[in-house]
């Protein structure tokens, strides 16, 4: 009985440490490899010893897939690949591959800043890890090996985020990572084929939320910033380097232009250029509007947003500053916050989540007196606002994705228990044919998928398989399984073709010339010269040479290929019929 086994090593009913192991058709795939920023010890990384005791991840895993560059999805990757030890392929999209190291470097800095940190990766390890990454293109099927294939779909959420379909034989799983079904200022909405996976693993961060219109939130944000600036206050917006920051920059830039505002807007120096570089490079991953207007005006080249210098913080008058890091735990954002906290005219807007222990977390929870190093106390008089611009799918979005993909089973991860329960009820109500499981924290899930029993009979679908009648039962199984059960061996069908060629050289030379010719034409194919059997092989295609009995200058080429390589075989026969070029290099 085929089974899909899901072991969540991180993303249970919490955010952080997204790491899910999927075993499907004998293949083991790790989906994301995130870390938890709330811990400083081993607990920040997934515990890989649960999947392999001797730490030989390369032997165990067939591949690792990273959905996007957020640290709760990729933060443990260098630890896993370079410190635990994994040498196999790691797949992620091009933008994720480009941006991931920046975020990892940022994270490394935070760790260096902490005392007593151990067991952490270095800059060199981040680079070595990135060298193992194989970039993915959207909608392109990548053959990891003969049996395992993956395909990426656009997920919105952040630049380069992807959902991924994993297929082994006739079984398939779709993993969403984080996704957003509503387009925002710079990204489009997630989209997937009607691929009808056996299992859909979906995030459920906003499982119960039907989010208010993004426009409302944007209006609210702009109103607050504007009011503060108008009364001469300063606005601090702590952000992480890439992602939400760019969305907010577009928002402010447009507003400033429209309202003809003069107060300066600053961004942590260096970050704008870097962000611009990536957004320009991956413009095709942004939303339609940005792509269309790119030629006339690049939305990421901001007129009003200038690089920040630390001396500006003391300048009189209003200003808006985007500064890193986003949780107010160190660096420039914290330094500015300390300077501005005492003035009630000022405001800090936290656009993202902060882990316990950070200043961001404290002020969001209403603390007004903060004890700092050296026993000094900081009185927080400035206004504190939390504005979630997070780009996750809400309950409506999750339902929309289910309608798109039509899964047979569904698993909810990356969310809170109560909210998941609520969503489960909603999904079961609307989609009676879906078997839905909530990923209970620390649960080991196994799906036994009995083919032919679960699909909705009202919805026709194509299935490939072998029908076995045995002991009064009918079963549809894969051809491999059928042969195994019935003790049969596979019969291989091969096509053959004879091609005549005028070539005055000896058979061995002709063979060598064919090899050189095919090698030069068929780049990317495996071409092999086997002089002992007087043959050349291209994938499964065998080309043999013999001289005609009547005319030694006429060579008879015998081509043979398996049905899987039919296209290539036909192409080769046509190619060889045209003869060999006179000069071969």
């Amino acid at each position: 009985m085929p089974e899909i086994k899901v072991t969540p090593l991180g993303a249970g009913q919490d955010v952080g440490r997204s790491c899910i192991l999927v075993s499907i058709g004998g293949k083991n795939i790790m989906l994301d490899c995130g870390m938890h920023m709330g811990f400083n010890d081993d607990r920040r990384f997934p515990d890989f010893s649960y999947i392999t005791q001797n730490g030989r991840l390369t032997e165990f895993l067939d591949c690792v897939i990273i959905s996007h560059f957020h640290l709760d999805h990729c933060g443990a990757l260098p630890y896993m690949s370079e410190m635990v030890g994994y040498d196999g392929p790691i797949y992620m999209t091009h933008p994720t591959k480009a941006i991931c190291p920046i975020l990892l470097e940022d994270f490394r800095k935070i760790t260096v800043d902490k005392k007593g940190e151990t067991n952490f990766f270095t800059s060199q390890m981040i680079k070595d890890c990135m060298k193992k990454v194989v970039p993915l293109n959207l909608h392109q099927t990548v053959q990891v090996d003969e049996e395992l294939e993956i395909k990426a779909y656009y997920a919105g959420h952040v630049l380069g985020a992807a959902m991924v379909q994993i297929k082994v034989g006739s079984e398939s799983v779709v993993y969403t990572g984080d996704y957003n079904m509503t387009p925002d200022r710079h990204l489009g909405a997630a989209w997937i084929d009607k691929c009808r996976p056996d299992l859909l693993i979906s995030e459920s961060t906003y499982a119960t939320t039907i989010r208010d219109s993004k426009r409302c939130r944007e209006r609210d944000f702009l109103k607050k910033v504007h009011e503060t600036v108008e009364r001469g206050g300063k606005v601090l917006i702590p952000v992480f380097a890439l992602g939400r920051a760019q969305e907010l920059c577009i928002l402010l830039e447009t507003f400033w232009e429209r309202m003809n505002l003069k107060a300066p807007i600053y961004f942590s120096t260096g970050m704008t250029e870097k962000a611009n570089h990536y957004y320009k490079l991956f413009i095709t991953w942004t939303n339609q509007k940005i792509r269309k207007t790119f030629v006339q005006r690049n939305m990421f080249e901001f007129k009003h947003i200038k690089p920040f210098d630390r001396s500006y913080a003391d300048n009189p008058g209003p200003m808006v500053v985007f500064a890193t890091p986003g949780m107010l735990h160190a660096g420039q954002s914290l330094q500015i916050f300390k300077k501005w906290a005492g003035n009630e005219k000022n405001m800090v807007i936290m656009p993202g989540y902060c882990v316990q222990g950070t200043i961001g977390h404290k002020i969001l929870n209403g603390q007004r007196k903060l004890e700092l190093e050296g026993r000094s106390t900081l009185e927080v008089k400035l206004q504190v606002e939390y504005m979630s611009f997070s780009a996750h799918a809400d309950a409506k979005g999750i339902m929309q994705l289910i309608r798109m993909a039509e899964p047979r089973n569904m698993l909810l991860v990356h969310g809170e228990a109560v909210k998941m329960e609520f969503l489960k009820g909603k999904i079961e109500q609307e989609f009676s044919n879906i078997v839905l499981t909530i990923n209970l924290k620390h649960t080991f899930l196994t799906y036994y998928l009995e083919k032919g029993t679960l699909p909705d009979p009202k919805k026709p679908r194509t299935m490939h398989g072998t029908l076995i009648m045995k002991e009064n039962s009918l079963r549809l199984v894969s051809p491999e399984q059928a042969m195994k059960e019935l003790g049969l061996s596979e019969h291989h069908l091969r096509f053959t073709c004879r091609v005549q060629l005028q070539d005055p050289h000896s058979d061995a030379d002709t063979l060598h010339r064919i090899y050189m010719h095919l090698k030069s034409v068929l780049k990317g194919y495996t071409t092999q010269h086997l002089p002992d059997s007087m043959s050349v092989m291209v994938e499964s295609i065998v080309v043999k040479v013999s001289s005609s009995t009547e005319d030694p200058n006429t060579k008879v080429l015998l081509l043979s290929w398996s049905y899987q390589d039919e296209d290539l075989g036909s192409f080769l026969s046509t190619l060889l019929k045209k003869g060999l070029p006179s000069v071969l290099c």
Binding site: G38, Y50, R108, Q332, Q335, Q356, Y386, T526, D532, S540
Partner: protein, 937 residues
Amino acid sequence: MDGECVKLLPQLCKVLAVSGKSLPDDTSLEKLLDWFSGLTNLGTGLVEACPCLPAFISTVIHNASPDPTILSFTFKLTGLLAATESSFKLLQENSLLLGSVFDPPHRWQEAGFWDDPCVRIGWVQGIRAMLQHPPALHFLVESDFTKVLLRLQTDTSLFVAAAANDVLAHILVTQSQLSGKCVDMEREEKSSIGKTVTMDADVQRLALTLGSSSDYATVVMAILEHVKASLVSKENKERHQTLQGLRLLIVVFGQARAPLLGILLKAVSEPLEALVAEGHSQLHLLLLDVLLTAYSCSSHDNPTTGQHNPTRDQVLNDPDSGQPADSLISHMLDTYKPPELIHAGAALLRRDHRDLSHKAKAAGLLLLPLEMITGLTLPGTQSAGSAEQRCSLAELMNSKTPCISLLCVCLTHATLLTCTPPDVLPCPIGSLVTVILSLLRICSGQAPISPIGSSKAYRNLIGCGKVQRCSLEALTALAVSPGAAERMSEVFSVLIEYLDNPDSEPTVLHKSYQTLLKWISVLPVPSSSIRDTLGQDLLSVVRKRVCDVRWEVRDSTVEFLGDLAALSPSNDSAQCASENPLVCSFTPHLVEALQDPESYVRASAIKALAQTFTLGWQQGAAPSQQQTALVKQLLDILSGDTEGFPRRAVIRYFSSWFSLWSQNAPGLPPPRSSSSSSSSSSSSSSSPLLLTSSVGSVLSLGSADLDWEVKVHTLELARLLLHRALSPLGASASLSGSDAASPRQPAPHPYAVTGQWAGPGGQGEAGDADPGGALAGLVEQGVLAVLLSGLFDCDRPVALKACGLLMDLRDAVCPTPAGAAPSAAVAAVTCKLQGCSWGKEVEALLERAGVVANGSKGEGSKGCDWTGDEEEEEEEGGGSVRVCDVLRSLDLDERLSVLSQSSDHVQNSPLSLLQDILSIGDRHADPNSQEVIVDCY
């Protein structure tokens, strides 16, 4: 415990108990437990010190609908509180609290809480924390919790099952060691060997001898019965139970000592034999692991004497302990089918099994797939595997996935063969190298002949990156093995083929470079013919690879060139890196790579160039035009590159250069650039002068950089300059930045940026001997400006390093107590604050200290600013302060103590944690509060 924390704790307990809602931050409760656990380890009796905690527990368990997370936390907290015998008794006296907390899992079950794995895991961990003393064991037995634990051992949650297994192992092993009478028991065990007694009696006797009550015997009996039952053959669906039983045995066998070990072996030997005989492939490797763990002597040998534990050996050879493990392992090796057979061979070698005949067999088995695929005959494999096993193996090797998987296992373990005794090693290392080379050729499609029947297997392997990487790793490991050198030219030829092959994946190329480097490092010096041929071949492939479209390949190539250059001096002391013709021919490629579009490659190129320094360049030879151009190019990168990696590399390049120069020119005075000093003793066109004139720019650009690591590396360069200038004053020993173990500096973070490239500085003979001159020199070079800029940086690692270095400077040049006058020469050195971003801050500090800027410039002042423009300064006149005054007014000692605390020192303190939880509670209570939505980061 902090007084404020004691005050807040009751409030916190109230919030947690009453709110009935879990905290949005899932880490807070775990951190709270960490804090309690730390206090317990320090000997604080939490029950006595914090009576609010038992009260909290009582409130939660009497709550009809507690939050599962809070309930789980309560279990863990209770276990922690009951971890000491005295607290346990106190809790027991407190209205039988423990019983009501842990006792009724069925109560939680009825209420539906038990379905939540976080509640179950909390319960298990609570029990685990408590089981530290005999009364806790008694409580466990009395409450019949062993049954619950045994049930949880096969829980649907992987994590709950693993935790339950852990508790069971803890009970068996630790409880048996709690009494100090193990030695007596061992003695008794020795005398009883050979006597047949029942398991029940054995266990009773064990408990009796340990001085435990019958509790231990009861619980051991229950566990053993359960394990025995779980080992009895099961249907596939119940196999999980058997697997868990075997996993428990592995843990226990790994830790159990002689008396317990004997009883365990006796109890499970029969079902183990039966399982071995049944041959369920799913259990094969776990079974082998159980046997290898049980019969491995290594963990039980006396670590100080290196002697075996004779009692343990006797236990192992006791016929009552069942069939000897050796025969079971032999049986496994004879009957297992190929995939498990090869894995078993690997496990035997990995675990360093003591039986040499098994080891030899395992080694032969591991070579078998390699032999089959390559068609090469290896001595020593003839006896490996039966005809049937070989036949199945050959069949398996025709399928792509198992073939690749098996080859990878063999190759990964091939290096272990070199550690086996010579009489066990099945074939000479040279033959092993040949087989691996042949496999590499097959993978790249270059193998000339395929053995009969192997063509399908050949096809499976062509272009297979996984096998290629494993083969290259094995080849790297074999480079240093005796006998491997005979195959050197073949190895080089295959590696060059790989580097040349357009189909090689980037990761394969990376490994090929690493392997090549390893083999070059062991290349004997006289092999000049190999070197020459290799050099020519390498040059042609490297030329191609530095232009590869994939940045990963270009970076690996550049890294390789750097490492190759670094290898050169050690191999040939007479010849320095860039005098090596091989390295010389690569240098233009490295210079070209400075313009690579990928920042990683640019950084690697700079690093590689730093590894090609010449002695001549260090010792004052005139720099060539290319060298001057290179320095200019590097300065351009430092000022203009948009990425941090290349800029960091540039600073390290100059640090490396300066460090090397200092080592090689200890007698020379510090070079001065012509722009700042007319008394320069160096030739105006010498390399040291080029270095010095660049160092000023490097310091000013580096300290103004936006990247914190560039700034830290700049401070490292400043440290080298400081070291060089101050060593004549006898200050070198106390330089904090140079010495990780310096008492002033906090212990360095293992991944903290350090001057890894920079060796020790000069020996102290060079430079001015007077402190005033040294200080003036440092001000002139811009070192002081870098340090002050760093001190006020918002990035803590930068500020911390700068602070340490400023303290060194202060102690070296004006060590007298505050108020006492420094020497006239030192006092005369001034600096300017104008135009510096940190100038205002220094001015404010000076004012506070009663030192007024300006006008302090005395007669014969050596004042200068870091712009080096003395004339301008003279015209402006004001804004100069004495360096000594600055150094004293900064209150560096206080600053260092604040900076030495980590950025989250305060935030992560217990007080901060309690405040955070309380503020969340207040937030929950406030109906108007804005919900903070948990989000990703």
